[in-house]
């Protein structure tokens, strides 16, 4: 979003033009892509220049805006030069060098073993690197454009205002239709399962304002009230702007296709099954007779009943007991960790042999979640991880 005002233009603007802009911005009819951004693009001819008093705040703002403009201009220039250099180095055409090419080139030219992806070298457009700033919210005499300027968060409160307006509109509509004897259409009812209201950080980006937790909860509450109305589908467009689709958890991971071994059986191998400090590779073969081999031994590799029960949990849950063969190599950790690792491997591999509903069931039973709880470290000055030393005053 371009949220910058061309500062120089603004000075030359005469006041009436500015007021017009302000008015049109405030009317709800002019809600386009980003109605809450304070985009004030003013084009005024230099002929309309009048010597007017410029407030101190405006002066300071203009100075800052100018500096920022200059800075961004140089940054853009440097970016273009860098891009051309990179293109030349890679032997590509600088005109058609895209951002993806840049990323690949940087990864090739500056290989980095740093773990955190944010810490690796990167080259991005300055628009992405430097966040958008709010443009001036007042004219050159210091009079604010927005009626809610003095609330501190005009965009946020405008949003709340709009939500309430929308709610009132629907209330009125409901009353009118009720008098006519109409009832809301059940088929068109707004269904929000699988959607989430926009999280706080995203809303902040949209509004270019930082909002407090309690303000966000106010937003959530008023949106909920709006959505719960029987005629909420009438303002579907408005509501959907603040909804975010949620991913189905069980469909997030891709299910691997089983491969065929030399005996003509399907099989899946899951590597890196981890639990505590144990690590396992699990192969599941279908069809089988329920054979289990762990490090070359059978299920009595685990002397404890509890661990053996764990191995059988996913098989029994998905009713595949006796239909598949399992081979596992496991190392590290104790019996509990090892059996947990193999259990996870079996469950993950079984996904390829059962239907989608069963996968979802297995997920709900917690079989497909990697259990990444590990032993908590001991702290100094304490007896253990949480327990404190006995303390006696005297």
């Amino acid at each position: 979003m371009a949220l910058r005002v061309f500062g120089l233009n603004l000075v030359k603007t005469n006041r009436s033009v500015l007021q017009n802009v302000c008015k049109t911005g405030a009317t709800p009819t002019q809600q386009t892509v980003a109605p809450y951004a304070t985009e004030v693009t003013v084009q005024a001819s230099p002929a309309a220049v009048q010597k007017q008093k410029v407030s101190k705040a405006m002066k300071a703002y203009l100075k800052r805006a100018n500096e920022h403009d200059e800075f961004m201009k140089t940054q853009h220039l440097e970016f273009q030069i860098g891009k051309r250099h990179l293109a030349n180095m890679m032997g590509a055409d600088p005109e058609t060098f895209t951002q993806q090419d840049i990323d690949e080139a940087i990864e090739y030219l500056f290989p980095s073993g740093l773990f955190d992806k944010k810490a690796r070298p990167a080259m991005k457009s300055p628009d992405e690197v430097f966040p958008a700033r709010k443009a001036a919210e007042f004219d050159e005499t210091g009079r604010p454009f927005h009626s809610m300027f003095y609330t501190g968060n005009p965009n946020f409160f405008q949003l709340l205002h709009d939500i309430v307006q929308e709610t009132n509109k629907i209330h009125e509509l409901e009353e009118r239709l009720l008098r006519r004897g109409n009832t809301p259409d059940e088929n068109q009812k707004l269904d929000t399962t699988g959607f989430q209201l926009m999280p706080k950080d995203q809303l902040e980006l949209l509004l270019v304002e930082s909002i407090a937790d309690i303000e966000y909860s106010n937003f959530v509450n008023s949106m909920e009230r709006l959505i719960a109305l029987p005629y909420a589908y009438k303002s579907k467009e408005f509501i959907e702007r603040f909804l975010k689709p949620l991913m189905d958890q069980s469909k997030q991971l891709e299910i691997p296709k089983p491969r065929i071994d030399e005996q003509g059986r399907q099989y899946i191998t899951t590597y890196e099954c981890l639990r505590k400090t144990a690590r396992a590779d699990v192969t599941v073969r279908m069809p089988g007779t329920g054979k289990i081999s762990i490090n070359g031994q059978d299920i009595f590799y685990f002397p404890e009943e509890k661990c053996r029960e764990q191995l059988l949990f996913p098989l029994q849950f998905s009713q595949m007991l006796g239909k598949v063969d399992i081979e596992a190599n496991v190392e590290g950790g104790g019996p509990s960790g090892q059996s947990g690792a193999i259990r996870w491997g079996i469950a993950m591999s079984l996904r390829s042999f059962v239907d989608q509903e069963m996968i979802e069931s297995m997920r709900l039973a917690g079989l497909l979640t990697r259990d990444y709880r590990i032993r908590e470290r001991k702290k100094f000055g304490q007896e253990g991880a949480r327990r404190k030393y006995t303390w006696k005053k005297r």
Partner: protein, 215 residues
């Protein structure tokens, strides 16, 4: 709203997070029957991540809530495998005694022989209603009866059962004594039930101080 809960959990996190899972993770449902009975709620859960299944859980008849709690309370020094073995022995002992009794007595198919349901019955019978906590007011200690939460009362019942069975000769094994205590409690007599009655008697005699509590 279906998703509002999720959001509010996300945003209103207060205090320190002790779990390794983020707070919006949900506990798993192990039993297939439970999953089938909660169809409508599952639609909401399909978008929420689930915690990993614990390593003492399974979708079998051997997996009971109270039984598992009992196993955890028996455990000493992190020897979980041993305590599980002890629990199994206890249940076996209960089953044996009940079967024996049922064959000896004339109407023998009327006695309860399911060990786990006997255990549950015993724990339910031992649950106290109230607890005495001492509160100091003006230099004098008062014993004040306080209502208990469900969780706490279950804990006390199991603890009393265990305490009673740990008070024994060296020759008697824990499973043996625990089995006796459980059988006694399930039939509504024995030391633990007496202890509970004693506690309610004390609470009754101290009921004049009930309005003193503030904890």
């Amino acid at each position: 709203m279906s998703w509002s809960k999720n959001i509010s959990i996300n945003t209103w996190r207060c205090g320190r997070l002790m779990s390794m899972y983020p707070q919006h993770y949900v506990d798993p449902i192990y039993k297939m029957e439970d999953q089938c009975s909660k169809r409508t709620e599952l639609l909401r859960l399909s978008h929420i991540p689930i915690k990993g299944a614990l390593n003492n859980s399974s979708d079998t008849i051997f997996n009971g809530e109270i039984k598992q709690k009992m196993v955890n309370y028996i455990t000493k020094n992190g020897e979980g495998f041993l305590s599980r073995k002890l629990m199994a022995q206890t249940l076996e002992m209960i089953k044996r005694t009940q079967l024996e009794g049922s064959y000896i007595s004339p109407g023998y198919n009327k006695t309860e022989t399911d060990a786990e349901s006997l255990l549950i019955q015993a724990v339910e019978n031992c649950r106290p209603l109230l607890q005495l906590s001492s509160i100091k007011r003006g230099g004098v200690k008062y014993h004040v009866p306080i209502p208990l939460t469900n969780k706490k009362s279950y804990f006390l019942a199991m603890k009393w059962l265990l305490d009673a069975s740990r008070e024994k000769d060296r020759k008697v094994s824990l499973p043996e004594k625990l089995a006796w205590e459980i059988l006694d409690a399930a039939h509504g007599h024995g030391r633990v039930i007496k202890k509970k009655e004693e506690l309610s008697r004390q609470c009754e005699s101290n009921r004049a101080y009930a309005h003193y509590r503030w904890s």
